[in-house]
């Protein structure tokens, strides 16, 4: 039951299940999986049960209920929640509770969803394995020796381990799509500006976008419908109506739809055979659905990762300046418990020593690495060579997408070069970790929506994903094609062994 949003909503509406029963079941599932999977940084036992009971009372009293009334959801711990800690999986914010709800959290609550907890992630969303979390790593429910991907690894694992039917992640360079692929679920990164960023603790402001993760396209469409919409409090949110996404789900005919296959990326060295096969199998499925397959290349795709790894750290270095120990979050004095002063801080002014000690202790090494890279690239004398140059390339990358979408409706390609990698495999090799983003960062740089779909299984039984990308504001096209694909395939119905069936 907890593996389908639409089923739960149907049971709740018909009265075959109460919100309290559903919530209790979710909490039991968390209790069962948390020790091994560690998908959550916080579980809101009492608050979730209280909210569920309120829904049941309203239903009993015959009051009109919002569309998601009683649906348990999990929220990535980078999204502000006024009634729960928001740690960004960092020691810096270990004890921090924001004074307000992120707009998308408020939207989900208004739609009746019950926030059951906060999910683990790479620290400040920087990473592709959830191993940089200060709250302990998260394991992949398909194989506990592997990572769930990242940075929304907790959100993906929360769904894949059967604790919630829907979770909300964020995607700056692939952080929804890559963990969705690693965990065999569906993940949607909306158009930049489709969902409000107010209350999303910024990693890279021009790239960050929140989106839903669930087993099926139908479920993520339900999630996106509830969370999306213009927010006047976010200057970068787009003032456009969100179309009816459920009606897009009903489409199973792709007659006349042109899908461009990104052959260059598939043929690239280092792409696993299982990934190649998943894409070519998908081509056949889409052809059967009536779509026309053509080959497309995005000329500047070799520059995606370098461009991304200049722009994202530059913005991060600035966005993370506010974590200085002065106003909230971790503060550390330069003195240790015995009053001894750290040698490197002995000569610093007291204020600077506090800043340095707090940031040194509060941030993990990947966060520090990106702050340093970004600070360097924005420095006088380097700005033009790095940041400004990256902005220029970013314009070319967007131009590639514009050109491609003149001749096709959607782009098809891989999400990741390989299925889930092992824990510890890439953690000491930042470059290898960054290459996980090879196929995903383009959508962030161009601001287009992208969907990750389960589309294969490798020899070891690990899920393999494919990615669809659409022009800006065309989530409905993605959903229609994705739902069509899932009407002809069973990959989104596969569950990890030991999956809690209830």
């Amino acid at each position: 039951m907890l593996d389908s949003t639409s089923t739960i909503l149907e049971l709740l509406r018909s009265g075959d299940a109460t919100a309290r029963e559903v919530t209790e079941q979710a909490l039991r599932a968390i209790g069962a999986t948390q020790p091994s999977i560690n998908a959550y940084t916080h579980v809101a036992y009492d608050a979730a049960l209280n909210a569920a009971e309120a829904v049941d009372r309203d239903r009993k009293a015959g009051r009109p209920l919002p569309p998601l009334a009683g649906l348990p959801v999990a929220i990535k711990d980078v999204l502000c929640t006024a009634d729960m800690p928001t740690t960004c999986s960092s020691n810096m914010l270990r004890n921090f509770t924001p004074p307000y709800d992120a707009t998308i959290v408020a939207n989900l609550k208004r739609a009746g969803a019950i926030v059951i907890g906060k999910t683990n992630m790479d620290e400040f969303a920087m990473g592709a394995s959830t191993e940089t979390s200060a709250m302990g790593l998260t394991r992949n429910p398909w194989d506990e020796d592997r990572t769930p991907g990242g940075s929304s690894g907790g959100a993906a694992a929360a769904v894949a381990s059967g604790t919630v039917p829907l979770s909300i992640g964020t995607d700056t360079g692939g952080s929804i799509r890559q963990p969705a692929a690693f965990c065999g679920i569906t993940g949607l990164k909306p158009t930049y500006g489709r969902c409000s960023r107010l209350g999303l603790v910024a990693f890279a402001s021009s790239l960050d976008q929140a989106g839903p993760l669930g087993w099926s396209v139908e479920d993520v469409a339900i999630g996106l419908q509830a969370m999306a919409g213009y927010d006047p409090a976010d200057s970068t949110s787009v003032d456009q109506e969100v179309p009816d996404l459920q009606s897009a789900v009903a489409t199973d005919n792709l007659q006349g739809v042109r899908i461009g296959v990104l052959r260059d990326s598939i043929d690239q060295e280092g792409v696993a055979p299982s990934v190649r096969k998943a894409v070519s199998d998908a081509e056949k499925v889409f052809t059967d659905l009536g779509a026309e397959i053509v080959e497309v290349s995005l000329r500047h795709s070799p520059y995606w990762v370098p461009t991304y790894y200049v722009i994202a750290p530059c913005e991060a270095s600035s966005n993370l300046s506010r974590f200085d120990g002065a106003h909230y979050g971790h503060r550390q004095s330069a003195q240790d418990a015995d009053g001894a002063v750290d040698e490197s801080l002995a000569k610093a002014e007291p204020l600077e020593a506090m800043y340095r000690a707090s940031r040194a202790a509060g941030f993990g090494s990947e966060v520090k690495r990106r702050i340093m890279v970004g600070t360097y690239a924005l420095s006088a004398g380097y700005y033009d060579a790095y940041y400004n140059q990256a902005l220029k390339v970013r314009r070319l990358i967007r131009g590639d997408y514009d050109t491609a979408f003149e001749s096709v409706d959607l782009l098809l390609g891989p999400v990741t070069p390989s299925p889930a990698f092992g824990l510890g495999e890439n953690i000491d090799d930042p470059i290898a970790m960054y290459l996980c983003d090879l196929f995903t960062v383009g959508a962030n740089l161009a601001g287009v929506p992208a969907l990750s779909l389960p589309a294969g299984v490798d020899d070891e039984g690990l899920p393999v994903g494919i990615q669809l990308q659409a022009p800006v504001m065309q989530e409905a096209k993605l959903i229609a094609a994705g739902a069509g694909f899932q009407s002809k395939t069973e990959y989104h119905r596969l569950r990890p062994s030991g999956f809690i069936v209830s």
Binding site: Y100, L198, G199, A202, A204, F323, D324
Partner: protein, 527 residues
């Protein structure tokens, strides 16, 4: 020691149109004890001002918090201006409009697009770790402000404006070092209030010119209602960039530039510049250090010791790592919006000042005083003058009686108890010879407390014109009683009638002194 700096300023103004002046220099109580070996250099003082004006918006630049001054610490704050995680800025439209208004009045060009940049540094009163400001596309660029030349009120000085950009203010740090502890308290109420930073060209040549520029700018900003310009509340603050160009044996030598920060009164601007001019001369004489040897330095001004002092400097010059703020979209400034604001500007103070001189024949000083009181006073004057028929007399009544009353009763001209048409009618009676100044003042005092028209006031005070016959009779009586005066006048001492004027007033307060005098002289001549 102020006298020396005064000499710099005054002599420079004298020399501005002609050749540079020579400076006679005797340092007293200066930071270095070295006396100048050479005491005569032609010196040109170079000053540029950066003025921060707090815009009079209802709310802060990027959030909905109020901007009221003097509220309890940290009560006008929200997640946005506190820099909380996840908070996002939204631009205040009113701040844009007020900035454009100012830019147009300063003859600036307004670009079709303006954008936001982050200026990054760590300080506890800057909770985001960066200030949202404007780096390369300021909202106003390349303008000027004409000021009266303090050395010659008949001529003006053309002061270039490099740019004016919008930015958010930081909070306030209050350092408490009492009782041997060093404690810093932070008030973030001011954090995020909109500031327009107006940067002048280094076109100012003396402390007096800097002060004149600042007063003209303040007048303009208050006239436009874009800023309160209360320096003591910090809604107008100035930084002065100062250096000297010395003519050393025909070779131009420039001293290192010093930026004196956070000058919070007109007086301090003048004193800091005067002090800095002296200090730089001594320092140059001492070290020979020129602009090529040292980067721009930041100094503060210590009010108590009346000195500038170097502020803590990093080894390397500050790198603010400006980059475009990805949380804010660039702002398009449509032509028609700019045109609309331009057409709403009305007459600017400098134009009014000239017009009052040309149209009404006022002296520069009088026109300046009226204009400096603001648009309401200008209106008051013009309405009163149109009723009185004598603008000059009207202006002197305003400058004496009206402005004195405003001060004494602490009232605004907008709600002045004597409306301008009534004052005009009163002055008109004087012009017509129906009232003398002394009686008119009585009427004015009466009108301050009685909302009545002038004629009613005259009746209430028993003031009526004295008829010709009554006047003749009064004068005859006086002459009969004072034969000595008749004799004196006949003997050629006309001023002797003066003694009788007072007597006439004692008998009949309504008697017009001028008329009494003429009648007396006529009667004596006929005798």
């Amino acid at each position: 020691m102020a006298s020396v700096a005064g000499a710099v300023a005054d002599s420079y103004n004298a020399g501005f149109l002609g050749s540079p002046f020579s400076l006679s220099f005797t340092p007293i109580d200066m930071p270095t004890s070295t006396r100048l070996a050479s005491d005569r250099y032609p010196v040109t003082v170079i000053i540029g001002l950066e003025v921060h004006a707090q815009l009079k918006t209802q709310t802060k630049l990027f959030c909905g918090c109020a901007t009221q001054f003097g509220m309890p610490a940290n009560t006008q704050v929200c997640p946005v201006c506190l820099g909380m995680p996840g908070a996002l800025p939204v631009i205040n439209r009113e701040a844009i409009e007020l900035s454009v208004r100012t830019g147009l009045a300063l003859n600036c060009s307004i670009p079709p697009l303006t954008k936001w940049d982050r200026k990054q540094y760590f300080y506890p009163d800057l909770p985001k770790g960066y200030q949202i400001s404007q780096f390369d596309l300021p909202i106003c660029a390349d303008g000027y402000l004409d000021i009266t030349d303090p050395a010659d009120p008949d001529s003006t000085r053309h002061i270039g404006i490099v740019r004016a950009h919008l930015e958010e203010d930081a909070g306030k740090s209050m350092h408490d070092e009492s009782a041997g502890v060093s404690d810093t308290k932070i008030d973030l109420n001011r954090c995020g209030t909109p500031l327009l930073e107006i940067v002048s060209q280094p076109d100012l040549r003396s402390a007096a010119e800097a002060k004149e520029y600042l007063s003209e700018l303040k007048l303009l900003l208050t006239h436009l209602a874009v800023s309160d310009c209360e320096m003591q509340e910090g809604s107008l603050r100035a930084d002065a960039n100062v250096n000297l160009h010395l003519d050393v044996d025909g070779k131009k030598v420039a001293t290192p530039i010093v930026e004196v920060k956070n000058l919070n009164s007109f007086r301090n601007v003048q004193r800091a510049i005067d002090y800095e001019v002296e200090r730089q001369l001594v320092a140059w004489e001492d070290s020979g250090e020129t602009i090529n040897d040292a980067p721009k330095r930041t100094f503060g001004w210590d009010d108590a010791s009346e000195r500038t002092f170097p502020q803590r400097e990093k080894e390397e010059s500050a790198d603010y790592r400006y980059f475009p703020d990805p949380d804010l979209l660039p702002v398009r400034l449509p032509r028609d919006m700019i045109d609309e604001i331009r057409s709403s500007l009305g007459e600017l103070p400098a134009v009014t000042r000239t017009r009052l001189q040309n149209q009404y024949g006022l002296k520069f000083y009088d026109a300046d005083v009226i204009v400096n009181q603001g648009p309401a006073m200008i209106d008051y004057f013009e309405t009163a003058a149109s009723h009185s028929g004598d603008p000059k007399k009207t202006s002197s009544w305003i400058m004496q009686e009206v402005m004195r009353t405003i001060k004494e009763r602490d009232v605004e001209i907008q709600s002045f108890p004597v409306p301008p048409n009534r004052l005009g009618e009163l002055v008109h009676k004087i012009v017509d010879g129906k009232l003398d100044n002394a009686r008119a003042r009585d009427v004015f005092e009466y009108l301050l407390d009685h909302d009545e028209n002038v004629d009613t006031a005259l009746a209430a005070l028993g003031i009526e014109a004295v008829g010709e016959d009554d006047l003749l009779e009064l004068c005859r009586e006086l002459l009969a009683a004072n034969p000595q005066v008749v004799e004196d006048v006949q003997g050629g001492k006309q001023q002797a009638v003066g003694a009788l004027i007072g007597k006439a007033r004692a008998k009949n307060p309504n008697a017009n002194p001028k008329a009494v005098r003429q009648t007396l002289l006529d009667l004596i001549a006929q005798a």
